[in-house]
């Protein structure tokens, strides 16, 4: 059966109205950003503390402190804390990262007052019970043995190590021994110095009502909080060896990774590089996906991206491929980078990527929750709220010549690391 033959005309995204968050300050100076607009009585609160790996004094402390924060506070057991929060239809996730530890509460506005005492308890008086700490250490020693069998985990660890050095907060990886060395005192010290005393920023999204400010004043505004400096650590030191190939017994796939240090989000080239990355491997129709998955069937997926960290960001390419095609896939990755350096991107491909990105940006500011994620990225990158509009302008204006210049400057292979775990041949080669 024939369908209508006139295909629909595409309409450009002309309007992307980013509703700027409203900025307020609590009485002790903590910045609060609110994004209002939800059909139901729901709220998502995110408290972002400088408390990640850069602020820890021993290996693994920030992640352990984040994970165990909800396991007890003066006057409350872990069961009390979980029971109270969940009883009121809420959920609390604490995530420890390289730079930040974030507390994210999803809940119903009408129950915020009932949850206040418990939340105050875990922010100011988390107790890190001995038993839960021991439990955490034992379970993680077990989990790490499982992870260490996975080529993707091993490759990601190796990559950060060669990028930053084995002692750097971004570069080290946890081992069974390092878990065993964790102590309750270390966790308490970390918590007292960061979550209990340092200045966070707060993003609230959903239905913003009158109950929010008094709630946050009581939760965070009562005592002074300071701007925290990272703990002194070795400077990031990239490895001198550019290739790392590790064999793994019985593996049917190879994890392949490429990476190099890249500019920060506030660098003048960043937005254009973001477009270049999209073309290379940043979306499903990217060159890497089209070539290595859709044309050759070497992999289930291959992506490139940019990981932004406060101290040093990096660009990466990542995939798991069948063992017999490992070398062929690597050769294609280099060929695609070379093509971007040597050939102009066609107007047609660029127009596709422009439209795709503008649609993605429109989605990333659709409603208060998506916008809150975007705002968080802006704040962590130390950017202005105009970033979204500037990015839209860059995407609209960028030319094939600019992209080629950028590829020549940033997609060279001289300082590109290549890490493979699950290398087809048995001998380990460190070239």
């Amino acid at each position: 059966m024939a369908l209508p033959t006139t295909i629909p005309l595409l309409k450009p995204v002309t309007q992307a109205h980013f509703v700027y968050p409203e900025r307020q300050e609590l009485s002790n100076g903590i910045a609060l950003y609110t994004l209002d607009g939800a059909a139901d009585d729901i709220i998502r609160l995110e408290l972002v503390f400088p408390a990640g790996r850069r602020y820890e004094r021993s290996y693994g402390v920030s992640a352990a402190a984040a994970k165990l924060m909800t396991e007890g506070a003066e006057g409350y057991s872990g069961a009390d804390i979980a029971g109270t929060i969940e009883r009121y239809g809420a959920s609390l996730k604490v995530r420890g990262g390289f730079d930040y530890t974030s507390l994210q509460l999803h809940g119903l506005n009408r129950f915020l007052p009932q949850m206040l005492p418990v939340l105050q308890g875990l922010i100011y008086r988390a107790s890190y019970p001995e038993k839960e700490c021991a439990n955490y250490i034992r379970n993680n020693r077990q989990k790490i043995r499982i992870r260490e069998q996975k080529v993707d985990y091993l490759a990601d660890n190796a990559l950060r190590k060669v990028l930053y050095g084995p002692e750097h907060p971004y570069g080290y990886h946890m081992t069974g021994e390092r878990f065993s060395e964790l102590s309750r005192e270390q966790l308490l010290e970390h918590h007292r110095r960061t979550i209990a005393a340092a200045q966070p920023f707060v993003i609230a999204a959903g239905r913003i009502g009158d109950e929010l400010n008094p709630f946050l004043e009581q939760l965070l505004g009562q005592s002074p909080r300071s701007v925290l400096q990272p703990v002194k650590h070795p400077a990031a030191q990239a490895d001198k060896v550019r290739l790392m190939h590790l064999h793994k017994e019985n593996s049917v796939q190879s994890a392949i990774r490429f990476a190099k240090p890249i500019m920060a989000k506030n660098h003048p080239d960043y937005q254009a590089f973001f477009v270049l990355n999209t073309i290379l491997g940043g979306y499903f129709g990217s060159r890497l996906m089209s070539n290595i998955r859709e044309d050759k069937g070497y992999t289930y997926g291959i992506y490139s991206g940019i990981t932004h960290l406060d101290e040093a960001s990096y660009f990466y390419i990542s995939s798991e491929v069948g063992l017999p095609v490992c070398q062929a896939a690597i050769a294609e990755v280099y060929a695609e980078m070379q093509r971007l350096r040597e050939e102009l991107v066609s107007e047609e491909e660029l127009e596709l990527v422009r439209n795709y990105l503008l649609g993605t940006i429109l989605g990333s500011i659709d409603g208060p929750f998506r916008s809150a994620d975007t705002v968080r990225g802006i704040l962590q990158g130390g950017l202005s709220m105009d970033f979204v509009q500037e990015l839209i302008n860059t995407i609209r204006a960028i030319t094939p010549v600019q992209l080629q210049e950028l590829a020549q400057r940033y997609l060279g292979v001289e300082d590109l690391f290549e890490v493979v775990v699950g290398w087809p041949e048995a001998e380990v080669s460190l070239l």
Binding site: A39, G285, G297, Y298
Partner: protein, 416 residues
């Protein structure tokens, strides 16, 4: 309250529209009533392989993704044992492009040897990445085969073995397409900054001419009632001993579904669930322990999955688990636990209704279950569940003679 409009085209395509004027985006969700349960036992994994082929080009559009991305959209799809679901999210001004793309591949897929060849390889890599090259990767192959003896739920969506995917032919592809990918076997749900009249008009324009296919009458073998406990021990090169227990439970439409779902929540939802609190935190028998249900359209599974803590006596750990199960069979859950479950379901519904894609997906899913109105009614169904109901389903479902137990043990641990 999610308001929506319901319409059916002459060729049987069901359409649901939800207007959300606050969003600049449109979500187009097209659900086909076909899943791994509809596969030939000698050709398992086919529904999922076919999902991949749907992106390999159609009669009028060589590259689905490219056109959609040019319209500022993105898309994906997934296959379960029960259904196959495709979705596109794009700026609402380009709604028609998504409808055209979906209609074009429903009308006539481009059956090419090349596309089949590439996607066979991609799916084989997916099979290796998730089911072979991972510790415990084949656990659901083993567990399904232990619990289901005749029903097609006995294989997972990826398929029983790599060879089934490798041997798929272009004829298989054609037959599958004309049998299942017809308008009368599909549900289209659209949500976002759209107008109902516009959606119906455009759907009529693009899908209206597509011919209906044969009625899809399922005759799946019913699983006989299990009367004796089953036990399987697997020893493999894995780091930690794991326990799986599975009991047959009712299907997704059965009135007891809600009480059974809440029973699994009491045991395991969040950090305050009983199993986590008592057997992971208070008594350290397991390093992880959870209960969940498969929520499938035919009789499903109630599953308990746990990792044994290092050095623990497995017999003692399982006895402690059995004592917890005995508690839910013999005593009512507390008012507080019920209140928690209700507030949790209210919040989860409300947060699930925030995104236009979430709403479009839910509308199509509930329509497939037989009633799109469930999108507004499920929360009430959960509210009606009493402590008595939960105890009753605990007795009914968690019977020792209907339990299948899988011990997935570490070879290293067995040797030492």
């Amino acid at each position: 309250m999610i308001s929506y409009h319901h319409h059916t085209l002459a060729n049987g395509l069901k359409i649901l529209v939800h207007e959300d004027p606050s969003s600049p985006m449109a979500a187009v969700n097209l659900l086909y009533d076909v899943g791994a349960r509809d596969e030939d036992p000698g050709r398992t994994g086919f529904a999922h392989l076919f999902e991949h082929l749907m992106f390999g080009g159609s009669a009028g559009v060589p590259e689905f993704d490219t056109v959609l991305q040019r319209a500022g959209g993105n898309n994906n799809a997934y296959t379960t044992n029960d259904l196959t679901n495709y979705y596109d999210v794009l700026p609402a001004v380009n709604l028609e492009t998504a409808l055209w793309l979906e209609a074009d591949r429903m009308n006539l897929l481009d059956f090419s040897e090349r596309s089949l060849d590439v996607q066979r390889k991609v799916v084989c890599e997916e099979f290796k990445e998730h089911y072979i090259n991972q510790p415990y990767g084949d656990v659901w192959h083993k567990l399904r085969a232990l619990v289901y003896t005749v029903h097609p739920y006995r294989w997972p969506t990826i398929g029983l073995e790599l060879s089934h995917v490798e041997e798929a032919s272009l004829d298989d592809v054609r037959n599958f397409f004309y049998r299942f990918y017809r308008p009368n076997n599909a549900i289209l749900a659209v949500a976002g900054g759209v107008k109902t009249s516009e959606v119906i008009e455009l759907a009529e324009k693009w899908f209206g001419q597509i011919e209906r296919g044969p009625a899809n009458e399922r005759k799946l073998p019913a699983e006989p009632v299990q009367s004796k406990a089953r036990h399987l021990i697997v020893e493999a090169d894995v780091p930690v001993d794991m326990l799986y227990r599975a009991w047959p439970m009712c299907d997704r439409k059965h009135p007891d579904y809600y009480a059974t779902d809440l029973l699994s929540d009491m045991l395991s939802a969040g950090e305050s669930g009983r199993l986590h609190r008592r057997l992971v935190m208070e008594n350290e028998f397991f390093s992880d322990l959870e209960a969940y249900i498969t929520a499938s359209f035919d009789d499903g599974l109630f599953v308990i999955e746990g990792k044994f803590a290092e050095g623990v006596d497995r017999g003692e750990a399982e006895a402690a688990l059995e004592a917890e199960l005995e508690l839910v069979r013999t005593q009512f859950v507390s008012t507080e636990e019920l209140e928690k479950a209700r507030n949790q379901s209210e919040a989860s519904e409300a947060f699930g209704n925030v995104s236009v894609l979430g709403k479009a997906m839910k509308l199509a899913y509930y329509e497939l279950l037989g009633n799109a109105a469930l999108i507004n009614e499920e929360i009430e169904q959960y509210r009606r569940v009493s402590a008595e109901d939960i105890q009753r389903v605990a007795r009914e479902v968690l019977r020792p003679e209907r339990c299948s137990t899988l011990h997935y043990l570490s070879k290293q641990a067995v040797l030492s």
